[in-house]
């Protein structure tokens, strides 16, 4: 594998492929960056891409290009956009320091002592920076995960993982402080190095800041996890209620009826219109009301008036009284006239003067009427006589 000969070559070749590298870095999340896209960015000069591949800046895999992990990690860390929080560095550094302190204490040669001390100072400085960066990364990642992760279960898992990392950072900070304050007390007393003291003070300050941030992050994570749990529970419940509702068992199997029975919010009520009558005094006295009436009246102007269809006048003739006379036989009077006589009824009626002309058939009818109406005043004999083909009973007054 070819490597760059020196830093100058590295930087100048990165500078030359600036376009390609920044494009690939921008698209590092999408899995397929095609070789052909890359060609466009290097003015279709395959050699330029091959140069990068040879030096392991990018890798080729079946027509796809990807940036080498080493570079990717470097860019991400330097640009503060890394998603992975690697805590092994800190852990390793702490162990390195411990080792070097031992070497320092055992060493008598002043020069070599200074060498160890230099390493220790460098590492302390590094610990401070890395810890602070991890905390910042942690915070950013938590926010991103909470806001952008669409899968609820994964969101929860990722946040829980980040929470574990937070615990790790917390432990590492404690370990570092223990190292400074307790475990290597002799070393810090004996080294008497001005710069080391300053570095330690800075480090303590940085770690203090980290600790404060971690407390805040912890609160945030707990809050987010609670929100997710609450939200998840809510969705679950909604889905269950919907299921029961769709199977028509919600009423019998849950307490929804009781819950609703106790809720008397106005939102459940039907919104009835409430017509109010206008105040008569207002209509009569207010200028505004008069304006309104006039305005409304104009709308009614072109409305067709409803005319009822009238019938013709009834002529006066039809209303005049008409007298029609009809002579009726007064059966009552006829009986009264008959009762004092000793004649038989048929004979009496036959000879009675009715003051109008009454023929034989009518007289027979009158006979029948008298007999049926005034039966109680008459005696009907069992003897019969005949006249004009009509057989009649002999009837006398009582």
């Amino acid at each position: 594998m070819n490597t760059f000969n020196d830093i100058k070559e590295l930087i100048s070749s990165l500078k030359r492929e600036e376009k390609l590298i920044s494009e690939m870095f921008g698209k590092r999340k999408s899995l397929d960056y095609k070789y052909s896209y890359a060609l466009e960015l290097v003015d279709f000069d395959e050699d330029r891409i091959n140069f990068l591949i040879e030096r392991s800046v990018v890798r080729e895999n079946g027509g796809l290009l990807e940036m080498d992990d080493q570079y990717l990690e470097f860019f991400e860390q330097v640009l503060d956009v890394n998603e992975e929080i690697n805590l092994s560095y800190i852990d390793e550094n702490i162990r390195n320091i411990e080792g070097n302190i031992d070497y320092f204490l055992n060493e008598n040669n002043e020069n070599r002592k200074q060498g160890y001390l230099k390493f220790i100072k460098k590492t302390f400085r590094k610990i401070g920076v890395i810890t602070l960066r991890s905390v910042v990364d942690l915070r950013r990642n938590i926010e991103n995960t909470f806001k952008n992760e669409p899968n609820y279960k994964n969101k929860q898992l990722k946040l829980e993982n980040l929470d574990e990392k937070r615990n790790l950072v917390k432990n590492l900070i404690k370990q570092t402080l223990d190292l400074i304050n307790e475990e290597q007390h002799t070393f810090f007393k004996t080294s008497l190095d001005e710069e080391l003291n300053r570095i330690i003070i800075d480090l303590k300050y940085q770690l203090g800041e980290c600790a404060h941030n971690l407390i805040e992050i912890e609160k945030q994570i707990i809050n987010y996890l609670n929100q997710i749990k609450h939200h998840g529970r809510f969705l679950e419940r909604l889905r269950k209620l919907k299921y029961l509702k769709d199977h028509f068992t919600i009423g019998s199997e849950t307490d929804i009826k009781q819950v609703l029975a106790t809720r008397n919010q106005v939102i459940f009520e039907r919104r009835a219109g409430e017509p109010l009558n206008l105040s008569l005094d207002f209509l009569r006295e207010e200028e505004k009301a008069f304006e309104a009436i006039k305005r409304v009246a104009t709308k009614h102007l072109n409305r067709k008036l409803f005319k009822p269809i009238l019938a013709d006048i009834i002529s006066a003739e039809l209303l005049e009284d008409n007298i029609e006379e009809e002579v009726m036989v007064n059966l009552e009077e006829l009986r009264n006239h008959f009762l004092p006589t000793s004649d038989n009824l048929f004979n009496f009626i036959l000879n009675y003067d009715f003051q109008k002309k009454v023929d034989f058939d009518e007289r027979v009818t009158i006979f029948c009427q008298i007999v049926s109406i005034y039966e109680l005043d008459l005696v009907i004999e069992n003897t019969y006589q005949m006249m004009n083909g009509v057989e009649y009973a002999i009837v006398y007054p009582k």
């Binding site: 809510f234 419940r237 929804i256 819950v259 609703l260 106005v266 039907r270």
Partner: protein, 189 residues
């Protein structure tokens, strides 16, 4: 007594909510007025005389009654409608919650690639009469929520709706219904 009394009454007695995140400035003012504890206490007393109970929820105010106001059937009907609609919107976007913004066209668009959402839309019987097209149906559903004052049209130009804090009322209602454990276990995942 505050000068907003009649305005507050007008809004609340129609079954509407006064929400803290309403885009309407006037509503915001009413909310702030009610937030004052003294004003709230005064108005509570005042409205209770005409049988309205002024109540405060999570970031919203509303009216209820001291006595049973509607028959249970109507309440159930209304609650069932909410469950359906809520389920529909949660299928559209599980983060549908207070402060969420959406446009009807976003929902229509999602119908193309979300069969679940589509089948849920198809199961709204009352809305699907007259062979309406999807966007009309979705407008109907949105209208229902808007009428009950859980969402509001925030921008007429872009047709953006916003979920109001009164949505918490619906959420509370869903959370408070208790499903016995043995029933809960019978419901498939």
């Amino acid at each position: 007594m505050t000068k907003y009394t009649s305005e507050i009454f007008e809004v609340l007695r129609r079954g509407q909510f006064i929400c803290s995140n309403s885009p309407d400035d006037h509503m915001q003012t009413l909310y702030r007025v009610l937030e004052d504890e003294d004003v709230f206490a005064d108005l509570y007393e005042y409205f209770s005389k005409i049988n309205y109970v002024l109540e405060q929820g999570n970031e919203y105010f509303y009216f209820s009654r001291t006595e049973k106001n509607v028959d249970l059937e109507r309440k159930l009907d209304k609650a069932f409608g909410w469950i359906d609609i809520l389920d529909f919107f949660k299928t559209f976007d599980s983060s549908f919650d207070v402060g969420f913004r959406f446009t009807p066209s976003e929902i229509v668009n999602q119908l193309k690639n979300n069969a679940d959402l589509k089948s849920k839309l198809d199961s709204f019987k009352k809305i699907n009469v007259d062979k309406r097209n999807y966007s009309e149906r979705i407008k109907k559903i949105i209208e229902k929520l808007e009428r009950d004052n859980f969402i509001v049209l925030e921008s007429e130009m872009s047709e953006t709706y916003k979920v109001l804090t009164s949505f918490n009322y619906l959420k509370d209602l869903i959370t408070i219904v208790n499903i016995p454990e043995e029933i809960e276990n019978e419901i498939p995942e």
